[in-house]
């Protein structure tokens, strides 16, 4: 890039272009929400039949178009702002060098050469002449730098040295501009729209690589902005986001959706937007990877003769070779995609009601998502930031991303009943798979570390709900722990402060503490359910029950724990959220702030459970 071009370049013009893309992205975001949460939800709620299904299908495709526009145009906006930022920096350096050269009496050529005037002590009766230093850049190599310094020191005219410096500064600024331009041009081209309206897995994969490309190129730009607090509290995170202007927020969202989506304290709508990008990108990436893995060989089993004379069923060598190479990854991809299907199914259920007299499901907010390891999924029914009543449910052993569907269903069921009981106040129920739950009941669930490790994240999440809530009245928050999930809730209360108003435990093997009052909520606000045939509390108490002078291994079902015992009419360890049950209704009453209407029973007397 030459001097004339860089001088003529106005970074603000590129920033204005960026604004146009951002406006387009924002329009697409609003349109996507309208299509999914309003139009498609309305069709789903009110119409049936093949045509209605086809219409919802068409609307989902349209929503994908909008999501694609939203994400890519946001990246385009950030890229152009990043480009403008880099060019402005180079331009400032150029203009400073040009001004300084002028002030020193030099003239700068169009090619960057610097002509310096006569000057210095007279030599043989003559003032040393002026001259021209050709265009150059600063020497990066120490030897060349040394040679240059020597030349400057030897020259009788001090203006020579100044001219060398000016030429270098000008050259450096032009080099910086040229490199930035060369860096950004391909990133901008990569952001070009697809040539068809079908948003495929490949398109989402392209979006992810575009994101990486713009992030790479825009490092200086992003670094120039206020950074999120390192290990900040949810309040700190909320303050950071609040302090950003629209352009900065757009940059963070487009370049770091995975980080932004995780930050407790940020508005739920922002986290949802960020996580939905991560969700679509991850799903596409996983699907493409799965499609690229060869399928497992059809002949999986064979029989070998054993010394005893009978045949033993074993895997074929062919299958074993496949399994050693691909097996684990194949399983992980499939299971993760199953989980993502369940999450998508929840998105697609917005608007559905059980009957005409009831409200349809509210929009879902994806407050957390990751497919790594056991996976993470935090899904809210309705916006928690504007809810009067919030419920956060922690699932137990075996929970992971692949089986998230059942755990999501429990909270949609709770939402429906709690909404009925909440006197018209908005309710938000949240499924929180934000920790690594023990996966095997026999091998893993007796161990405490899953609860201890997950407790800080849970406390931060609850604090985050508090920080992001809008309005003057703080929300009424109920925490619901099922099975090992209740152990985590107890660990959270023990290690930190549980930011809740009511605690419900169902099928609890123990909450690590021996008394209800240690769960950080006011007296009378700890509620327990143990259904007939649920063996978990009596088995689990030896591992996770709390101990004090009143006795060992106390669980919430016990009288001496001090919780209110709610009646149940369901069987076993998993029925607490069965539709139409008392077990569900009692929990929903607590969630809706109507604990006084809960049906209570007497706790198990002490003599019955101590051995």
């Amino acid at each position: 890039m030459d001097i004339a071009t860089l001088q003529a370049l106005k970074p603000s013009e590129f920033e204005e272009a960026a604004d146009g893309y951002r406006a387009t992205s924002e329009m697409a975001s609003t349109a996507k929400d309208k299509v999914e949460n309003q139009i498609a939800a309305g069709v789903r709620n009110q119409l049936k039949g093949a045509a209605a299904t086809a219409a919802v299908d068409g609307l989902k495709e349209l929503a994908q178009n909008f999501h694609y526009v939203q994400t890519e145009c946001a990246l385009a906006s950030t890229a152009l702002n990043g480009f403008a930022y880099d060019m402005a920096a180079a331009k400032r350096k150029l203009e400073a060098a040009l001004e300084d050269a002028k002030a020193a009496g030099c003239t700068v050529g169009a090619d960057g050469s610097v002509t310096f005037p006569a000057g210095g002590k007279e030599v043989d009766g003559k003032v040393p002449e002026g001259g021209t230093v050709s265009a150059s850049t600063s020497a990066t190599d120490p030897t060349s730098a040394a040679i240059e310094r020597q030349a400057v020191n030897m020259h009788p005219n001090p203006n020579f040295g100044k001219a060398v410096e000016f030429a270098n500064r000008i050259g450096d600024a032009l080099k910086e501009a040229t490199e930035a331009d060369a860096k950004w041009a391909p990133k901008l081209r990569a952001l070009k729209a697809d040539d068809d309206l079908k948003v495929s897995d490949r398109d989402w994969s392209d979006v992810k690589s575009d994101q990486d490309g713009v992030s790479d190129a825009g490092k200086k730009y992003l670094d120039s902005m206020p950074q999120p607090p390192k290990d900040g509290s949810p309040k700190d995170n909320a303050a950071w986001w609040k302090g950003l202007n629209d352009e900065e927020r757009a940059a963070w969202l487009s370049l770091r959706p995975d980080s932004v989506g995780k930050l407790d304290g940020l508005p739920s709508a922002v986290r949802d937007e960020a996580n939905r990008v991560v969700f679509d990108e991850t799903r596409a990436r996983y699907q493409m990877e799965l499609d690229s893995i060869p399928k497992p060989p059809a002949n999986e089993w064979t029989y070998i003769a054993t010394p005893g004379g009978w045949a033993s069923k074993v895997h074929t060598d062919e299958w074993m070779a496949w399994h050693n190479k691909y097996g684990d990854r194949y399983e992980h991809l499939n299971k993760s995609l199953d989980g993502m299907k369940s999450i998508q199914a929840r998105f697609d259920a917005t608007g559905l009601a059980t009957d005409k007299d009831h409200k349809g499901l509210p929009p879902a907010y994806l407050l957390g998502f990751s497919a790594e390891g056991n996976g993470r999924a935090i899904i809210a029914n309705g916006n928690p930031d504007t809810a009067r009543h919030q419920a956060v449910y922690v699932p137990g052993t075996t929970s992971n991303l692949s089986n998230i569907g059942g755990n999501v269903d429990r909270m949609t069921a709770t939402w429906r009943v709690a909404t009925d009981e909440a006197d018209g106040q908005p309710v938000s129920t949240i499924t929180w798979l934000g920790y690594d739950a023990p996966q095997d009941i026999v091998k893993d669930s007796p161990f405490r570390h899953y609860a201890d490790d997950g407790a800080p994240a849970f406390n931060r999440f609850l604090d985050g709900l508090e920080a992001s809530h809008t309005g003057d009245t703080p929300p009424h928050r109920t925490v619901i722990g099922h099975s090992y999930g209740s152990t985590l809730v107890g660990a959270a209360a023990d290690h930190g402060t549980l930011n809740a108003d009511d605690v419900v435990t169902a099928g609890s093997p123990g909450v690590t503490v021996p008394k209800a009052e240690q769960l950080d909520v006011p007296k009378g606000h700890v509620w327990n359910e143990e259904a007939d045939g649920d063996v978990v509390p009596d088995i689990g108490r030896f591992g996770h029950g709390g101990t004090d002078w009143d006795g060992p291994w106390t669980v919430p079902s016990d009288e001496r724990f001090g919780a209110k015992q709610m009646t149940t009419d369901t069987e076993g360890h998993s029925g607490y959220w069965d539709e139409g049950s008392d077990s569900l209704l009692n929990q929903a009453l607590v969630v809706a702030g109507h604990g006084e209407d809960v049906k209570l029973k007497e706790p198990t007397p002490t003599w019955k459970y101590t051995r």
Binding site: A4, L9, E13, A17, G20, Y21, A23, T24, E26, M27, T30, A31, I39, V43, N45, L47, K48, G49, A51, T53, A54, A55, D57, G58, L59, E61, N65, F66, V69, C73, A185, P186, R189, A190, K192, A193, D195, D196, K198, R202, D206, A349, L352, A353, T354, D355, K356, L361, G405, G406, D409, R416, I441, V442, D534, V535, I539, G572, H573, S574
Partner: protein, 147 residues
């Protein structure tokens, strides 16, 4: 503890693990929706009008996208400016096409609400036509983006 208890525990865990997604669907015989023809037609019209209505917002956004380009005067010698022009052209087209899709999809839904004679099958056929119009062009899409 006894093996019976452990077996029960494992059975419960297995049952929990295999819970499949059950949406609270409206009953097939018309419990949740489609109560009467008139309200059905109204629902189709509303969905159609709302979808068509998105075209206005898209138009406004395209205007802002255009406005953003107006400052970029003569920027020859700047590679990124040339790249941006290509970028802009591609999105102007894409967003314009999405606008068209809103019009088509919304139109079908709206018309099915006004036309009492259209059968469910007729409407589905029209919707399927829109879907097949917008299929993936894998071969071209991969190359045109110049990565």
């Amino acid at each position: 503890m006894s093996w019976d208890e452990w077996e029960q525990l494992k059975a419960d865990a297995a049952a929990r693990g295999s819970t499949s997604m059950q949406l609270n669907r409206a009953a097939p015989d018309g419990g949740g929706g489609g109560g009467d023809l008139k309200s059905d037609k109204k629902a189709w019209v509303k969905a159609g009008e709302d979808t068509k209505g998105l075209q206005d917002d898209i138009g406004k956004a395209l205007g802002k996208l255009d406005d953003g380009q107006s400052g970029l005067g003569d920027v020859s010698g700047v590679q990124s400016a040339a790249a941006q022009k290509e970028l802009y052209d591609s999105w102007k087209k894409y967003v314009g096409d999405v606008k068209g899709r809103c019009g088509e999809l919304g139109g079908v839904m709206e018309r099915s609400g006004h036309d009492l004679a259209k059968s469910d099958g007729d409407v589905k056929a029209e919707l399927d036509k829109i879907k097949s119009k917008y299929q993936d062009t894998e071969a071209v899409g991969g190359q045109a983006k110049g990565r």
